[in-house]
Subunit: 129 residues, 2 copies
């Protein structure tokens, strides 16, 4: 079991977790974990979260099949946020979008030269499968 003593959970026993795609570095979603969901993630190798609306633990993909295999977990400098790097099956968002952050509310939609490289690498990797 992972030593969770450095993690600062909030008053509800939760810590926010940024979920990032391993292959593209794209940000997929922001979710919350409690101690039990972290343990389940480590034990099974698949991301488990705590749903604040449903007030229970859920395995990402349990209904959609869009599982997230955990590659690495990082803790931030003040111990109150996690970063999970994952291999995403299918899409991350329940809307059918790859990422939950598809709504641009300010500035230009991010299409840097790096993004074009991402898409290229993703296409190459997809063709390898």
């Amino acid at each position: 079991m992972l030593d969770l003593s450095a993690l600062k959970f909030d008053q509800n026993g939760l810590i926010p977790v940024i979920v990032q795609d391993f292959s593209t570095n794209e940000i997929l979603m922001l979710a919350y974990m409690n101690k039990e969901s972290i343990d389940l993630t480590i034990e099974t190798g698949y991301m488990h979260y705590f749903s604040r609306s449903r007030d229970k633990i859920w395995k990402k993909g349990e209904t959609s099949g869009n599982f997230q295999k955990v590659k690495a977990l990082y803790l931030d400098c003040d111990g109150d946020a996690l970063l999970a790097v994952v291999e995403q099956t299918g899409v991350a968002c329940h809307t059918g979008n790859k990422t939950c952050f598809f709504t641009n509310i300010f500035g230009e939609d991010k299409k840097s030269e790096v993004d074009i490289l991402f898409k290229l690498i993703e296409t190459i990797n997809d063709r390898k499968k």
Copy 2:
């Protein structure tokens, strides 16, 4: 002024914001914003946050000089998390690290082929300056 009606702030009037580097797609930090700090960010073009520990608005870089120029803001599918894409001056973390998420607590430290490309692109961009 930006229409913030789609944003769901928590009971303290805050919304978490994932901060991502525009050039490398690296995740720099997780912070919190209130309505006023979002307005200040849009007005000035530089990231402003709400500090929960100091209970006040701060402009990122106001003491360190490590400002964050906002390139774009995204809202997630259920309206309760933001993603800010920024041009980071210097490093994001007060520890001197580029990112606040430098502590690997599980899995192997992420060094995908994409990361190597990031570093290459960053080096090329730095040399252009």
